[in-house]
């Protein structure tokens, strides 16, 4: 399975990629929503998972989520936002835009793994 990691912070991309790889995912990275859409076009299969930051230049995470949810091509991709935005209203907006899950920074790796288990993407600490 493949995970798309989208964050403008190199440090955060490293952290998320590490967690995803440890779970057995192949990882593709992008620095903002537009780059991520471009990468998606290039890939021959749709990633099963996208870990998406909110605040990014060019196209932010919310815009990326909306764009992807409008396109039936990417229906199978699970969208999990990973962001510092922690106001209740922001989480509501993200879920309304079509994000499947939401992790607030700072997060522990367990938090991501458990949410992936809730979504059925991970079982016993490994991708299904």
């Amino acid at each position: 399975m493949r995970a798309l990691v989208i964050d403008d912070s190199r440090a955060m991309r490293l952290i998320l990629a590490r967690i995803a790889r440890q779970l057995g995912f192949d990882v593709v990275e992008a620095g903002n929503g537009q780059e991520a859409l471009d990468r998606l076009e290039e890939l021959d299969t749709v990633p099963e998972l996208a870990l998406i930051d909110w605040n990014m230049p060019v196209m932010n995470g919310l815009e990326f989520v909306s764009a992807v949810r409008r396109d039936t091509k990417y229906k199978a991709m699970t969208l999990m936002m990973v962001t510092t935005e922690s106001e209740q209203s922001q989480i509501v907006r993200a879920l309304a835009a079509g994000a499947h899950e939401y992790v607030i920074k700072p997060f522990t790796p367990d938090a991501i793994v458990e949410k992936l288990a809730l979504l059925g993407l991970v079982k016993n600490g490994v991708q299904v």
Binding site: S9, A11, L14, T83, T84, K105, P106, T108
Partner: protein, 166 residues
């Protein structure tokens, strides 16, 4: 024009501890030791990362590390096995991201709507900004660390319209 809420030191400590236990001290063996009056302070070679919060509230969050603490933070965050292998770019990325995360948590305590700037990282003592709201000082593995929240002064007679951009 009263600000409904300003973060206090307790909340800032709580935010810092959350960040430490998530990224820098996951096993709980190298915690941030909060010390309101540490025996020594930060110096001219500090690594300082700042993020600005603007909108319904204007302020800055500053995260300062001594150079050894900054390298250790980068090693921990980026999973670099040897602290000696940590480069300047790694330090900037790591400390910047930590300031981003702390800034995001502080931002969520303040009146909305606000936006968080990208982190700016530099070396050297920061000029006294004034308007300090609260500060956490401490040591991590014996090295000085501090987190401070400053409110940006508002000039009398100049009003800011808080537009909702989102």
């Amino acid at each position: 024009m009263t600000v409904q809420h300003k973060p206090n030191t307790e909340e800032l400590v709580s935010i810092a501890e959350m960040v430490w236990s998530s990224y820098l001290d996951p096993d709980g063996v190298r915690p941030l030791v909060v010390d309101p009056a540490p025996g020594w302070g930060l110096g001219p070679t500090d690594v300082v990362a700042t993020v600005a919060i603007s909108g319904a509230w204007d302020g800055r969050v500053l995260l300062s590390f001594s150079p050894p603490a900054a390298r250790r933070a980068a090693a921990a965050l980026l999973a670099i096995a040897e602290v000696d292998d940590v480069g300047e770019g790694d330090v900037a990325d790591a400390v910047g991201e930590l300031a981003n995360i702390i800034g995001g948590s502080v931002k969520s305590l303040m009146p909305q709507p606000t936006v968080l700037s990208l982190p700016a990282v530099h070396t050297g003592a920061f000029p006294d900004l004034g308007g300090e709201v609260c500060r956490v000082t401490g040591t991590w593995d014996g090295e000085p660390v501090s987190v401070a929240v400053h409110e940006v002064a508002v000039y009398v007679g100049v009003s800011r319209t808080g537009e909702t951009s989102q």
